[in-house]
């Protein structure tokens, strides 16, 4: 199967410290890939390199064969690669609906003049954005929150809205940085179901960093394990779980234990 996203020999060095050391991963389309590893393994750095927020010292990232290296994050977002963050990133000065509409920002093409003169084109685009934003909120069952301020939602609800906001622009790949962080057990179950729906109904490729092992092992089609900036192992969840190198990365060597 053709890869939708390829990371080829990516390295990142902050001063003398190698946050990422020659990482190569092929991400298959329409699959959920879980990235796991102990703290400081370079997981978030990898996500930042993919979405253009941290420049790679060497190596490159390809999205459907297009080289993303050196592009601005906003440009990469326009090519259909979206992400969420560890901390909530809703815009508090907007309603939930407006937050969703920001996700469709690149749909608007009428510019400053269109806005100042309220052209028909601009108003048509606004209406279309509003409609699609409502539709996307409805997809996650949050349509009734549309006019609430983003900050009025609970932490777990904000996470769901953020995920919905990444989906709205019909992305090819969505990166999720610890989507289950701070969620209650029930919420994690809901998230599990939502991620499966996104993969199965929308065919979007999901790449997820997660520490909640039950979630990531349950929902992922493929697991990549990072440790100290290197790729330690990758494979099916069950294979990875049994891999001695992975156990060592998490728990240390047997003889020291």
């Amino acid at each position: 199967m053709q890869s939708v996203l390829q990371v080829i020999g990516a390295s990142v060095a902050f001063g003398g410290v190698h946050a990422l050391d020659d990482i190569s991963i092929d991400f298959k389309p329409g699959k959920i890939t879980g990235i796991i590893g102990p703290n400081g393994a370079g997981k978030t750095t990898l996500l930042n390199v993919i979405c253009g927020m941290t420049p790679a010292t060497s190596g490159e990232v390809l999205l459907n064969g297009t080289r993303l290296t050196g592009m601005k994050p906003s440009r990469i977002a326009g090519l259909g690669l979206r992400r969420t963050f560890q901390a909530s990133q809703l815009f508090a000065g907007m309603t939930v609906l407006e937050n969703m509409m920001v996700g469709l920002h690149l749909m608007s093409s009428s510019g400053l003049a269109g806005a100042v003169f309220r052209t028909t084109k601009m108003r048509t685009e606004e209406a279309e954005m509003r409609r699609r934003a409502m539709e996307a909120l409805d997809y996650v069952g949050f349509a009734h929150f549309a006019d609430r301020p983003g900050s009025a939602l609970s932490f777990g609800q904000q996470r769901i809205v953020e995920i919905a906001r990444t989906l709205i622009y019909e992305p090819k790949v969505v990166l999720l940085d610890e989507p289950a962080v701070g969620l209650s057990v029930n919420r994690v179950a809901e998230l599990d179901a939502l991620l499966r729906r996104i993969r199965d109904e929308r065919g979007i490729t999901l790449i997820m960093i997660e520490h909640v092992i039950r979630l990531v092992m349950g929902v992922s089609d493929w697991i990549v394990v990072l440790g100290s900036g290197r790729k330690i192992a990758e494979g099916l969840p069950d294979t990875v779980r049994a891999d001695q190198r992975v156990v060592e990365a998490y728990l240390g060597h047997q003889q020291h234990a």
Binding site: K72, Q89, F91, M101, V102, H105, G150, G182, H211
Partner: protein, 339 residues
């Protein structure tokens, strides 16, 4: 009952209607004060786009105001160009200089951007005071009188009506832009710059636009000011002026268009009132700015929203500190975030 009738629309309409009828009854002094109100509405609208909506803490608005005034006056004085040409040219010069300030804003934010822009403001003030061959130095200069040609009114009234028209036009420019994807992009950059980028918002483009628009507004106000006062001097564009612009935005309401109209009028009323009782104006505005920042950072509009059921303020006002508190992740999340 009355509360339901007083909305943002009705309020702004009333202010502009009131300002329109002023010249038909007021004396010279009140005409001048009302004209200042118009200029301050323009200034506070422009500055609000930049600091209230786009969240760029810049302190150079008084310089853009000054560059607009100096640009207009100097073109008239040195090159004998007519006002109808010099005023737009002065405005565009201010806008261009303002846009350049977006470059440091790409790398700096918060207090660092504030300091950089403040340094720039002091530099322009220095130029106005010491580059005597061009700017006529600390004493300022008197541009040639404006020829209003075939306009049915003349002198103070003519420049008043021009100011009024410019103000109403710019009011709609600000309002419509902020109710468009551009306004959402500004607020997104203010609230969460990194998330904004990840959703396709180009920081350079929108920061430059915010600086350009606020430079244009301040420049236009300056160009009008040169015409209103018939004199251009550096003391009109010093640090106190900057504090007054900032106070207009903060008192009215950051991130609120109606708030800027309120703030602009309020500041001029306060200024004239303070002059009346001969109290140091710096203390009044500095103190007010501080008090509002501490106790009512959302400005007067949010009070109005609370008191008047008809006042439907869009959410865009949420100030930084309140937002932080409201969107703090759960404790467990905060811990995980530190990993």
């Amino acid at each position: 009952m009355l509360g339901h009738l007083v909305g943002r629309r009705a309020f702004c309409l009333a202010v502009f209607a009131f300002l329109f009828v002023i010249p038909f009854g007021a004396n010279q002094y009140f005409l001048f004060v009302a004209n200042l109100m118009i200029l301050f509405i323009i200034l506070s609208l422009g500055l609000n786009l930049l600091i209230g909506f786009a969240g760029q803490l810049a302190f150079a608005n008084a310089s853009m105001y000054g560059i607009g005034a100096y640009g207009t006056g100097l073109l008239m004085k040195h090159f004998a160009l007519p006002y109808w040409f010099s005023a737009p040219a002065g405005t565009l010069i201010a806008m261009s200089v303002g846009t350049l300030l977006a470059l440091p804003a790409l790398r700096l934010s918060g207090i660092y951007l504030a300091l950089t822009t403040l340094a720039f403001a002091q530099f322009t003030l220095w130029l106005m005071m010491h580059w005597t061959p061009v700017t006529f130095g600390a004493g300022g200069f008197v541009p040639p009188p404006i020829d209003f040609g075939s306009l049915p009114v003349s002198g103070g009234q003519a420049i008043y009506f021009i100011s009024w028209v410019v103000c109403v036009l710019l009011f709609f420019v600000a309002k419509h832009t902020m109710e468009s994807p551009i306004g959402r992009a500004f607020v997104a950059i203010r609230d969460r710059e990194i998330a904004a980028q990840s959703l396709g918002i180009d920081l350079l483009k929108y920061k430059a636009l915010a600086f350009a628009m606020s430079g244009f507004f301040a420049g236009a106000a300056g160009a009008l000011y040169a015409g209103v006062l018939g004199f251009v001097g550096p003391e009109s564009f010093d640090l106190l002026q900057m504090v007054m612009h900032k106070a207009a935005v903060v008192l009215g309401g950051m991130g609120s268009i109606a708030g800027s109209v309120i703030g602009g009028v309020l500041i001029v009323v306060l200024q004239e009132g303070v002059k009346e009782i001969a109290f140091p104006i710096e203390i009044v505005f500095g103190g007010l700015l501080l008090l509002f920042m501490l106790f009512q950072p959302t400005g007067v509009v949010v009070l109005l929203k609370r008191w008047l059921p008809g006042w439907q303020e869009p959410l865009h006002y949420a100030p930084r500190r309140v937002r932080r508190a409201a969107t703090q992740p759960a404790p467990a999340a905060a811990q995980a975030g530190e990993d």
